[in-house]
Amino acid sequence: MPPIIETHDLRKVFRTVRRRPGALGALRTLFSREYEERVAVSRVTMAIEPGELVGYIGPNGAGKSTTIKMLTGILVPTSGDVTVAGVVPYAARGRNARNIGVVFGQRSQLYWDLPLVESFELLRAIYAIPRDRYRRNLDAFVDLLAMADFLQTPVRQLSLGQRMRGDFAAAMLHDPKIVYLDEPTIGLDVVAKEAIRTFIARINSERGTTIVLTTHDLADVERLCRRIILIDRGAIIYDGDVERIKNEYGRFRTLVVHFAQPVAQPQLEGAELVCVEGSTARLRFDRTRERAERLIRQASERYALEDVSIEEPDLESIIRRIYIEGYDSFPEEAST
């Protein structure tokens, strides 16, 4: 099967009028023809297969939203190609719109003053969803997202978690082949986050919906995605398995040792002390050079131990290092 989302050398340059400082400057700005160019996205090439659930991540201002806006047809690329389900999004906005669903975590599409179900009714009419299909989807979503209790409540009275569930249903009533989720768990508590994540996973596995997830919460990605695309300063710096990036770029493990008595400066060969808190010490080691089992044996020979555990680096700490140090600064592999 051909990829459902395909971009080639996608590039977006924003041209803004150069602003001048001061009141006189503001006046001159009004008539100025001087522009500043800012490259938001460049050389973005990707192919996403039908049914994939991909995490599209990067720091603020990296170009995530710009890419998503080009994929959804909101923005016209400066150059490059983009096809989504066989349609060029900006050229055939209407046709593209029927194939996609979009959840903007920070901007609800529900109508504030109306009972939740009325927003769904209006969307049914906007997308011209046949009544029986609408009924079937609505029932399924009400069930999956436990919305029965607040279907008749005005949206402004809903909690953020309830509203977000409503937004998910709203984005999927028309059976989109592709769903873009932009920060879908932002501001949610842990329970609500988990409910949303479970829903995303089920939609992906049961309906085969292709999902592109943009998020700052890497726990979302860790829980949901097998593949991530990492973007920084407008360019893709990694595209591949979550596991691989964790294995290759997360060489360091943390050994957490709880001593029977506080130890001021515990020393272990092959590990580096990170910190000591009371009778607990954290030591970092490179798993390619040192085996955990040897370290534990060493520790138990030297000190009286209560408990030992090993922490694996989470995706967040790995990605944080990539953001700060750059992808290329990692020792094992220079690029993909």
Binding site: R15, T72, F104, Q109, Y111, D113, R124, A125
Partner: protein, 264 residues
């Protein structure tokens, strides 16, 4: 598309029932607003039995004609004024990822509205016909209907043009207020009382004169158009409305392309 439009009106009525107090206050405000305007006109006209050959009765008709076109616009195109807010708050993107025309989607954002102002305006127009002593025929009603629709389209052209400017400028409120108050002030009296420059603006730049003054001149069989034109230009209102709204829609398309280029 039709289903969406029907749904929109159903929701308007539903929310209206939920927020009844708001509706009653709004309706009361509309009545008071127009009553005050007409009252002021009456007081003024007690001082001058006629203004450039126009009596109070004729000016009542002038007002009612503007009011009906204006309220028709407010009933069907009111949400156009929200476009700058949608753009500024980033809500406009949503219209571009749904399968209907973006402007149409703007028009069907529920807003707790029923055609109360329009009903009031039609009643006022009915009274004004009697007050002005116009002989009601089928032909007159047809002309009135066309003039009122043309008037609504002139209003739409103006509100859409201002809304479209928000694709370039973040805030257009001031411009909107300025144009709105110009419209209210300059549609109240025959334009012949103003300086020639103002008359030209009202006829050809912001063609408010076509909403009421020119058609009223024709229907009341007045000779003076204030610009030396044949009074029959009053019959051009529907054409002016269509052209004006058409140009505004073309401008909207340009703005939309810009929005898709810059996303701001």
């Amino acid at each position: 598309m039709l289903a969406a439009y029907a749904q929109y009106w159903r929701i308007n009525v539903l929310t209206l029932l939920e927020y009844r107090a708001n509706f009653i206050m709004w309706f009361a405000f509309t009545i008071v607003y127009h009553a005050v305007a007409l009252g002021a006109l009456y007081v003024t006209m007690r001082q001058f039995p006629s203004m450039n050959g126009w009596t109070f009765r004729e000016m009542f008709f002038l007002y009612a004609l503007w009011m009906t076109g204006h309220e028709l616009h407010n009933t069907f195109f009111f949400q156009v004024v929200s476009v700058p807010d949608f753009v500024r708050e980033g809500r406009f993107d949503r219209f571009l990822v749904r399968p209907l025309d973006a402007l149409f989607q703007v028009l069907i954002v529920p807003q707790q509205l029923i055609p109360d102002g329009l009903v009031l305006a039609l009643a006022t127009l009915g009274v004004a016909l009697a007050v002005a002593g116009l002989h009601v025929t089928a032909l007159l009603l047809l002309v009135l209907a066309l003039v009122v629709c043309g008037g609504a389209l002139i209003d739409l052209g103006i509100s859409l043009t201002i809304a479209t400017l928000s694709f370039w400028f973040v805030r257009v409120d001031t411009l909107r207020w300025a144009v709105m108050s110009l419209e209210q002030d300059f549609t109240r009296y025959p334009i012949s009382i103003y300086a020639r420059g103002v008359r030209l603006v009202l006829a050809f730049v912001l063609p408010f004169a076509f909403m009421n003054y020119f058609p009223a001149t024709f229907l009341l069989a007045k000779q003076e158009t204030g610009l030396g034109l044949n009074p029959a230009v009053g019959l051009l209102t529907p054409a002016i409305g269509v052209a004006w709204a058409g140009v505004a829609y073309a401008f909207w398309q340009v703005g939309l392309r810009r929005y898709q280029g810059t996303g701001s």
